[in-house]
Amino acid sequence: MLDLKYLAAVLATVFVINLALRAVPFAILQPLRKSRFVNTMATWMPVGIVVILAASTFRSVAGDGSRLAYAAFAVVLTVGVHLLGGRRTLLSVGAGTLAYVLLVNAL
């Protein structure tokens, strides 16, 4: 069963971090705008973070390897639909997820 204390700690943690990331920059806008390090990290970070999240979620979906082929196929399909379908996120995510759900349940 879900541990309420743990859940409360998670909610408090993400609340504070999320709010701080949104609020603190307004207070220190000038030094942030001038910092070369911060601006460089801003351009370099996003793509790496999202690809790590993609790999990490892929890893948990593929599990012990039994669904590796299905997950890999669904990723290829998602990429294909996204690039050929005009980068419509809902369409690409929908197509990939539908394919994965069908493969897992039908085969």
Binding site: N18, R33, I49, I52
Partner: protein
Amino acid sequence: MDALVVTSRKAEIAAGVRASLAAGLGMYPIGLAFGLLVIQAGLPWWVAPALSIACFAGSLELLLIGMIAAATPLATIALTAFLVNFRHVFYAFTFPLHVVRNRFALAYSVYTLVDEAYAVTAANPRGWTSWRLVTMQAAFQFYWVGGGLTGVLVGSLLPARIEGLEFALCALFVTLTLDACRSRDGVPSLLLAALSFSIAIVVAPHAALFVGLLLFIATLVARYLVVRGRDA
């Protein structure tokens, strides 16, 4: 005079709702998927609105479902939240917060500074008023929480768990990667991230996300020092 103020306030609220509609069309279905995944992960229904109120940030909330269900350590959750939402730091540069005067409205506007709110104001930088801006942000939260509640309702009505639905989150990050890496400039970061996560899987298979993210940041700092040394 008062009638005039009321009319302009009404017009601004209407303009805020109009400004929210296009992005809202995308937020509601993703919110629905979020609610559905909360039920599928075996969590109680109220976790969906609780997460959307504690931290209004779509992709992080989606990630948190799996992390909470797996009882992930708080340190990993904190690092993930920090890095996934780090991009918000740069929204302050252009977000028209200066139009908001009321203290509560100001706090709410900062708290609900989601990607969509930033994107809409970045695309239309002029003409924002306090009522218009805060109405748009409140509408965004309304669509998202509404989508989440619809999702938990749908999820609890389904006779059985839909196997494989959790792939949606992986697919979402795949599309975000494609959108973040549109030019060759993104390739070094992509490779450093792939290397960092691969090392993490080998050396710390049970904390791969945490270690992988830390390694990636370390490689970026090293890259920054190298590039700066070369330029100097």
